[in-house]
Subunit: 178 residues, 2 copies
DNA sequence: ATTTACATGTAAGACGTTACATGATTCT
DNA sequence: AGAATCATGTAACGTCTTACATGTAAAT
């Protein structure tokens, strides 16, 4: 049911069309929290409207329909966000690969870690710059919490990769190899 | 296809039965990287064996079959881990809720953040203790990289939640509320 | 003797991805 | 005029969850 609440959450931030929502997933959510293709979004929007959690507030060109969350939808979203999910399941192919690094030989592991350190540094800097810009533009503090979390995740990933590279070096030193 | 490689990766660490693998997902992987139920694991193990990527190396009591990764399986696993997946998709219901905090009013957001700060601190300490113990026991450095990443993720989550609470306080001060 | 843990499997339904399908509007 | 983008939808297929199903071995 997460898709339903992801859509409801995005609509709670601002009204949007299915097309808009697909781009929001792609740009803002996919790398951190959730994803959906348009083929999943459009039918779910119709269900949300049928269930009275969202409603069409504007018809635009090319059949565009802008949806907004309803009061009932907001109550249902709040209930879901406040409900502590005890046994969370994370699916992250990238993290899975990092967890399986120990199955590679040291040179392969080093290669992955170097790519990782580089990639996460870039992503961190990109996010940090975006946050700074949003702050300059006067965006409210609460709307930047998510971006800050994303930035810190990539920072952590970067620092971990650097630390892991150091660790492999010193382990190799102790074992007496070149 | 991630499940296939998750299983291959776990078998690359050590031979295991479907039952063992289900427990490894539950205990080591579910909160960080991937998950699978036994109903998915057993059929996939049969497919891995049929494809020559894993093989039964021991028959135990109660129909237990211990699988090991084959040389072909190891090559295929290495190929997958080294292959940079350009457009990663993360599904994390917990992170999704944190990303949607801005849709709540400030008191609700504070409540979630306090729970978050507490929960992630506990999880961090649990992991840190486990790592220390493994280190004392002389586990090789490379096998602890994943645990270290998990610990750092929770540490980051904790620090972010604390920071976010501070942020909400100072935003409230500036707006002149109690 | 009973309970708990071990151990494997299948089936139905929900969820998610990829491919197919169509058409309007805007930009160059 | 042609290309890119906007915009919505369905269908087939693959993945994942939940429920059903069965039986053995170890622990109390």
């Amino acid at each position: 049911m997460s898709l339903r609440y992801a859509l409801l959450g995005l609509l709670a931030e601002e009204p949007a069309s299915g097309y808009d929502l697909a781009r929001k997933f792609e740009r803002n959510l996919r790398r951190y929290a959730w994803h959906a293709q348009h083929s999943q979004i459009y039918p779910e929007l119709n269900r949300l409207a049928a269930d009275g959690l969202a409603t069409v507030v504007e018809q635009g060109p090319r059949g565009r329909r802008t949806y907004a969350i309803t009061d009932v939808g907001r109550i249902e979203l709040r209930r879901w966000v406040l409900d502590p999910n005890d046994e969370p399941v994370v699916r992250n192919e990238h993290t899975l690969k990092l967890f399986l690094l120990s199955t590679l030989d040291v040179e392969d592991a080093r290669k992955v870690l170097r790519q990782q350190a580089e990639g996460s540094r870039e992503e961190y800097e990109r996010l940090r710059a975006a946050i700074d810009e949003a702050q300059q533009a006067g965006r409210p503090a609460v709307s930047l919490l998510a971006a800050e979390l994303g930035a810190r995740y990539f920072q952590t990933l970067h620092e971990w990769a650097q630390w892991a590279l150091d660790r492999l070096d010193s382990a190799e030193d102790r074992s007496g190899n070149a």
